[in-house]
Symmetry: C2
Subunit: 336 residues, 2 copies
DNA sequence: ATGAAAGCGCTAACAG
DNA sequence: CTGTTAGCGCTTTCAT
């Protein structure tokens, strides 16, 4: 039953009065059940239940220093890629009794900084997904506020890689196997960890495969960048491209269609992430699939563990990425 | 510059000592600038800046009773429909200096209840999007915790309609104009406000249009329901359907394809929401477009205003819905 | 096992 | 305009 607002909130004091014990006893009964007698504990818990007691986060935070909330910062809530991240962290945190503050940093490092500043006092820790901040800034913040990074690694800061560079290698392998020689990699934002890893892997692998890799300049990882990215790929004379993420890749598909470039006839496109929509766009997008929910849960668990034990444990290896081949990639058209 | 954790947090007391004034003066200087002399205010603000002072949300909440955070509860964070809602409320709240707690209730009324219970003490108010709770429960909660409803209306509780029933009418008009006579409406979840409105409007309008409307039983508003919903529509012998949301509609498109039912040749499909993906699925989906970000901002503004003034203002009218015609709807195939 | 008491950082009367 | 004082609800020594 919902308590009426006019009665005010039920406090520890109320329970103490009700049960004829001291507030400290009530506090213990509710948070350290082993340090009170079984009988009083039962009595207090029953009263709490009956009166609809709900602990005050503020009171608790003030005296204990812990807020029982952790922040999740993502660069773009409207990118379906972050679905799994949001769901995964949320379920893990909820199970542990933590609240979950979601912050959309809108691809802006400045907003990230400001948000961290604001979260510093109100969160016990923060999960930072795909941060656009510099390595030193991240390291500095981690000293103030426990951080776990997702898809970004910084020396000395806990992190979980979602993306595995091998996905890009598989994509390249696939395109080369189809017969492509001149292949473009369409970059994401300049600071991105996965972007760097992919460039490294592709750069190192292309020669071995006998492929001619051309890398674009960085793009904002959103649909809006698609048309420009598509045009760039055409200008570079590639017959196939690997794209930083599916949001851009799907948008590029449309640009190619608008310019009369047949996909996959005249241009093969491989995206990354396998987001919502990748399987039903037109043509369906060949993409690098990476499970996100599991690493997100890992990140949350990592943070919780660190808060509890003070230890920094190292994360399990991420699930391997795999290529999901759909209709947007095919052998290059033979020149007439 | 980021303050080092070893120094501990800077408090009002620190600033007071630093400036040689009382904590209350510092408090006022930072929250009621007009109640302090300009010179001391400047001195204090400068010190705060210099020492990297950040107010303690907990301390503030405890003494003022306000937490400066508001909750947003959505039934499914992985439904792109809620993108605009999340963005809209977030931007509005951020501008007002409020924190934003996102809760995914996973289409479960029980989880909604539990979340409200937990948020009661830690939020100043909650924006409840597409609640699956009963009207009486919602009204009861509103007495305890200021609520604003999105896409759900309950007597006496502030709400903003995103959906306008006229969208469904336009969809029906469209299909009838194309020549369809037997038209199915695929329902969403039982408690949904928009679902009820649409049934009412469609039920009232169909006779006037000379259409034969058949209404399905309720479905969970997710992709998973698509196949079953598609099968039901076929069983009902309709040549066209209006679907509760695009998530289901897109999924139905695929089911129809799998069953060899040509869309739009043998079946016209009209969705609702115009979510991410509706424009690039195959075939592109005719759908009822409704702007979500603006009403979400309105909802946030409404809540903030109520918290500030205690008044309950009534919201502006929602933006009108409009039909966006794409390739998933066409005239019915002439029987051979 | 339980109680008394001291704050945590801040706001909000109430004095001056 | 500013200082003094009392809590807000809770956890946490320190006694008992």
């Amino acid at each position: 039953m919902v308590k009426d607002a006019t009665q005010g909130e039920v406090t520890l004091q109320d329970l103490a009065t009700e049960c004829g014990v001291a507030v400290s006893t009530v506090s213990r009964a509710l948070t350290r059940p082993d340090r009170v007698s079984e009988s009083t504990r039962a009595r207090i818990v029953a009263a709490a239940e009956r009166l609809g007691y709900e602990p005050s986060v503020a009171g608790r935070a003030l005296s204990s220093g812990r807020t029982q909330t952790i922040g999740l910062m993502v660069p773009d809530v409207t990118n379906p890629y972050f679905f799994g991240i949001i769901r995964g962290t949320q379920s893990q945190l909820r199970a542990a009794g933590y609240a979950h503050v979601l912050v959309d940093t809108e691809e802006s490092a400045a907003l990230e900084e400001e948000s961290l500043r604001r979260l510093r006092r109100s969160c016990d820790g923060v999960i930072l997904a795909a941060s656009r901040l510099g390595a030193e800034e991240i390291a500095a913040w981690d000293r103030v506020l426990p951080l776990v990074l997702l898809n970004r690694s910084v020396e000395g800061v806990a992190s979980v890689e979602v993306d595995s560079p091998d996905g890009a290698r598989q994509a390249l392998d696939h395109l080369v196997s189809l017969g492509h020689r001149r292949i473009a990699y369409v970059r994401g934002p300049a600071g991105s960890g996965p972007d760097r890893h992919r460039r490294e892997v592709l750069g190192a692998t292309a020669p071995r495969y006998g492929a001619d890799l051309v890398v674009t300049d960085p793009f904002a990882p959103t649909s809006a960048s698609g048309p420009a990215a598509a045009d760039t790929v055409l200008r570079l004379g590639a017959t196939a491209c690997i794209v930083f993420n599916d949001l851009m890749a799907i948008s590029m598909l449309r640009r190619f269609a608008d310019r009369g470039v047949d996909v996959p006839g005249a241009m093969s496109v491989v995206g990354c992430d396998d987001i919502f929509g990748a399987d039903f766009c037109n043509p369906p997008l060949t993409t690098v699939t990476v499970p996100t929910e599991r690493p997100a849960r890992t990140a949350a668990a990592l943070l919780l563990d660190r808060l509890r034990t003070g230890r920094r444990i190292s994360p399990e290896r991420p699930l391997p990425a795999h290529l999901t081949i759909r209709e947007s990639s095919a052998p290059p058209r033979r020149d007439p």
